[in-house]
């Protein structure tokens, strides 16, 4: 229940997005005449991703999808549900189980004029495609002296789910982050999922597009029309003054749950959804830190070598004098994700940890003043 509330809060406070236009229609209820504002239809995130894919495939005939079970099975998370019926078996290609092979095939097709969306059934499976993602996806535009571009979108579900075991609970953003030549984007709401996927498909750069296993069924509204969101900009989730909390993907909701608690205690945190895990939107990040003078990173990847590690380093290097407190990181434990519920819960960041961290940071600073 708390999660649903925080989701609603999130969706309501997406500051950067233009307000959804609400149609006002007269609605007649039996026995009374009432004018009720007709709400825009809420859809689930998987439907939003499907809409984006469908719209872009319709718009550009070189856009195609490749992956395991994306066609006849409809996609393991329904993102490509029934699209093969509309576009055929070649445009929504059911691949055999050979990640490195079909990732390379997608890259070769991209180099020669197509725009493939390559799906990893689970992001973790893309470890098998690391050779292609690193060497060819990331580096090929450079080693060819700019002759070939690789406009692929590599997308799929990652993150810790519900007792899926260590191998299905991986967060690959930290593994891919050092690859030069790729952009990393993490979606979190229905609105930004659709808008970012559209942008990613249209981008000439290779985009690694992180969805989360537990967010496919969250509901929300999409932007109107052909709205494409910038791949390089962070999202202001909640404006505040006390502390800047940087987060992404599902941890956005964990943070907003904590924010509900913190508000009651009189805190006023600013919450920023990074969206672009690489490159960082330093404009939004530095503006926020200059205002609050405190930075807390809440992420789901492991602490060692994570996105937060990079962000913390960048903040320390470029915004040292703006800080009143050391940068804090809340990340997953450096352990494989256990199957047992309690251990799994202890591996990832929980809302109470966020509350404690903010209290600690703010009181320490308050005490110092």
């Amino acid at each position: 229940m708390a999660l649903q509330t925080s989701i609603a809060r999130c969706n309501a406070r997406v500051g950067r997005a233009p307000a959804a236009r609400v149609a006002v229609k007269p609605q007649y209820v039996r026995g009374a005449a009432q004018v009720v504002a007709a709400k825009k239809k809420e859809i689930m995130m998987w439907e939003a991703l499907r809409e984006a894919t469908d719209e872009e495939m319709e718009r550009d005939p070189t856009v195609c999808v490749m992956g395991e079970d994306v066609g006849h099975y409809g996609g393991s998370y329904k993102v490509t549900y029934d699209l093969y019926k509309k576009y055929g078996d070649m445009r929504v290609l059911d691949t055999p189980i050979c990640e490195n092979g079909f990732m390379g095939m997608g890259i070769g097709a991209a180099m020669t004029g197509l725009r493939p969306i390559v799906e990893g059934m689970n992001m973790g499976f893309l470890l098998l495609a690391f050779n292609q993602i690193s060497n060819n996806c990331g580096m090929l535009h450079y080693t060819s002296g700019g002759q070939f571009k690789v406009p692929v979108v590599i997308r799929g579900p990652g993150g810790v789910g519900r007792q899926l075991g260590a191998e299905h609970s991986q967060r690959l953003e930290s593994y891919f982050q050092s690859i030069p030549g790729v952009q990393l984007v993490a979606v979190s709401t229905v609105a930004n999922a659709k808008a970012l996927l559209k942008s990613a498909i249209r981008s000439d750069n290779p985009i690694i597009f992180f969805e989360h296993v537990l967010l496919y069924n969250i509901k929300g509204e999409t932007h109107d029309g052909d709205y494409c969101q910038s791949l390089e900009r962070a999202e202001m989730v909640r404006e505040g003054t006390d502390v800047s909390i940087f987060t992404y993907s599902r941890m956005r909701y964990v943070v907003m749950q904590a924010v509900a608690e913190l508000e009651k205690k009189g805190y006023n945190p600013e919450v920023i959804d990074l969206i672009s895990l690489k490159p960082f939107d330093m404009e939004t990040i530095s503006k926020s830190i200059k205002k609050t003078r405190k930075a807390l990173i809440v992420e789901e990847c492991m602490k060692t070598g994570g996105i937060g590690a990079s962000l913390s380093a960048v903040i320390n290097e470029s915004l040292f004098d703006e800080l009143d407190h050391q940068v804090m990181r809340l990340s997953s434990q450096d352990v494989p994700t256990a199957y047992a519920y309690e251990l799994e819960a202890a591996t990832i960041v929980q809302p109470n940890q966020v509350v404690e961290a903010v209290e600690k940071m703010c009181s320490k600073v308050a005490a110092a003043v």
Partner: protein, 444 residues
């Protein structure tokens, strides 16, 4: 006349030898007589080595291997037969191309030892019949994908020798602006998809280009889309998983892709016999062509030292692909006269094996055939030699005189869309910062 091997600088024990040696010495080398002396000493050593090995071994008749594992019908139409027939034009083109490949690679060896090129350089000398036999049968809109042994594939496909040499020298006029190097030859204009250091990683790329060709036809409705992709790789690659993944997908989707295994029996120091298992029932040799039918495509083994045989097989495979009948696996039996790379001491291969293949050198083989069949005269052949020598000389001169890349090139090609470097603190995209075009901007 028929026993000459072309190892090292061009040596032909005909009356043209002295002239050619001089050309060798002066080829692309500026200035000092000391350098000239070094080059001619090099040439003489090679001469000596060849002479002694030739004296030691009787010349073995070329092994005409043509094994075919296929249920596909051989295209016996007259059109196919006439295409395979060698005309003077085709013969001379093949000779020119093989000679260019050989002279170019031997020049690379010289330049490497002279400190003009660096890193890992893998030369193709000896394998020319495969490159010329297959790639010269392709169209400009066809694609070629290779491994680190890619210089000659690029040349056969039409990339100017100048651009390849400049790339090897690390100059900005190289085909990849000096950013790729020996192992990463790319040409969008000539359909060369690379140039890959990790063996096997190029094959799916080639399959992807073939996928595009099929997609254009089947999805976008372009009936004229029938471009073919050839991926070249070695015997060692045939144990990499991506090889099998690619065979499967190419056959499954009936893609216009040709798998070309240049089986030169050695993967650095690992003998093919020690690394690859036999097909059940075979006692003698781990045949790679037999893996084709297991994946639903014909497999052909061909004498890779005989350019005419290679061409014949290539034409059939290309026709098959263009027709829409799917991929072919070609195993070319070939040999590299030099070590794996210029850093390889090459101590494991026996003298006997090297001599046996030296005797089957594809270039004098073709020359013999051309003269015997009246496809070319001695003068024609000399003219080709002159032309190739001039071209190689010119490529070295061009590379030598070309400027090195400036630091400004550092950040330019990381992203096709430079917004990928993101937004700086002042709100500008980082590529808009001063210093981006001079390679000094902070981009992370």
């Amino acid at each position: 006349m028929g026993k000459h091997a072309y190892i090292g600088c061009v040596q032909d024990l005909s009356r043209h030898r002295r002239v050619r040696d001089q050309r060798c010495v002066s080829a692309g080398v500026n200035s000092s007589p000391a350098q000239g002396a070094m080059a001619s000493a090099f040439a003489r050593t090679q001469n000596g080595r060849v002479a002694s090995s030739r004296a030691a071994q009787p010349c073995r008749a070329p092994l005409r291997v043509r094994a075919v594992a296929t249920t596909a019908k051989k295209d016996s139409s007259s059109a196919a037969a006439s295409k395979a027939k060698l005309t003077p034009e085709v013969a001379k083109d093949l000779y020119y191309d093989m000679l260019l490949g050989r002279e170019f690679e031997e020049m690379c060896a010289q330049m490497y030892y002279r400190g003009k090129m660096f890193g890992f350089v893998h030369l193709y000398s000896g394998q020319e019949a495969v490159s010329s036999g297959i790639i010269r049968a392709l169209r400009p809109d066809d694609y070629v994908c290779s491994t680190y042994r890619d210089h000659v594939h690029a040349l056969s496909k039409g990339v100017p020798a100048r651009e390849v040499m400049a790339e090897l020298f690390g100059k900005k006029t190289g085909c990849c602006r000096g950013q790729g190097g020996s192992m990463h030859m790319f040409s969008a204009k000539h359909g060369v998809l690379g140039g890959y250091a990790f063996i096997g990683e190029g094959i799916p790329i080639g399959v992807g280009a073939a996928f595009k060709s099929a997609y254009k036809r089947r999805v976008l409705g372009d009936e004229s889309s029938d471009s073919v992709t050839c991926s070249f790789f070695g015997d060692g690659t045939c144990n990499v998983g991506q090889f099998y993944e690619s065979l499967n997908m190419a056959a499954l989707y009936k893609l216009p892709h040709i798998f070309v295994v240049e089986n030169n029996l050695w993967a650095i120091g690992m003998s093919h016999m020690r690394s690859t298992s036999h097909t059940l029932g075979d006692a003698d040799f781990p045949y790679i062509y037999k893996k084709g039918p297991a994946f639903g495509m014909p497999g052909v083994r061909v004498d890779g030292m005989d350019v005419m045989k290679v061409r014949e097989v290539a034409l059939e495979a290309i026709e098959r692909a263009r027709r829409g009948d799917g991929p072919t696996l070609i195993e070319a039996e070939t040999y590299r006269f030099r070590g794996h790379s210029l850093a390889d001491p090459d101590e494991l291969r026996s003298k006997e094996e090297k001599a046996a293949y030296a005797a089957r050198d594809p270039i004098p083989q073709l020359k013999r055939v051309m003269l015997e069949q009246g496809l070319a005269t001695e003068d024609d052949i000399k003219a080709i030699h002159d032309r190739v020598a001039a071209e190689v000389e010119d490529s070295v001169k061009f590379a030598d005189e070309s400027p090195k890349p400036e630091k400004g090139q550092l950040l330019e090609n990381v992203f096709a869309d430079p917004r990928g470097f993101g937004i700086a603190a002042d709100g500008r995209y980082r590529y808009e910062l001063p210093g981006f075009t001079s390679g000094t901007a902070a981009v992370s």
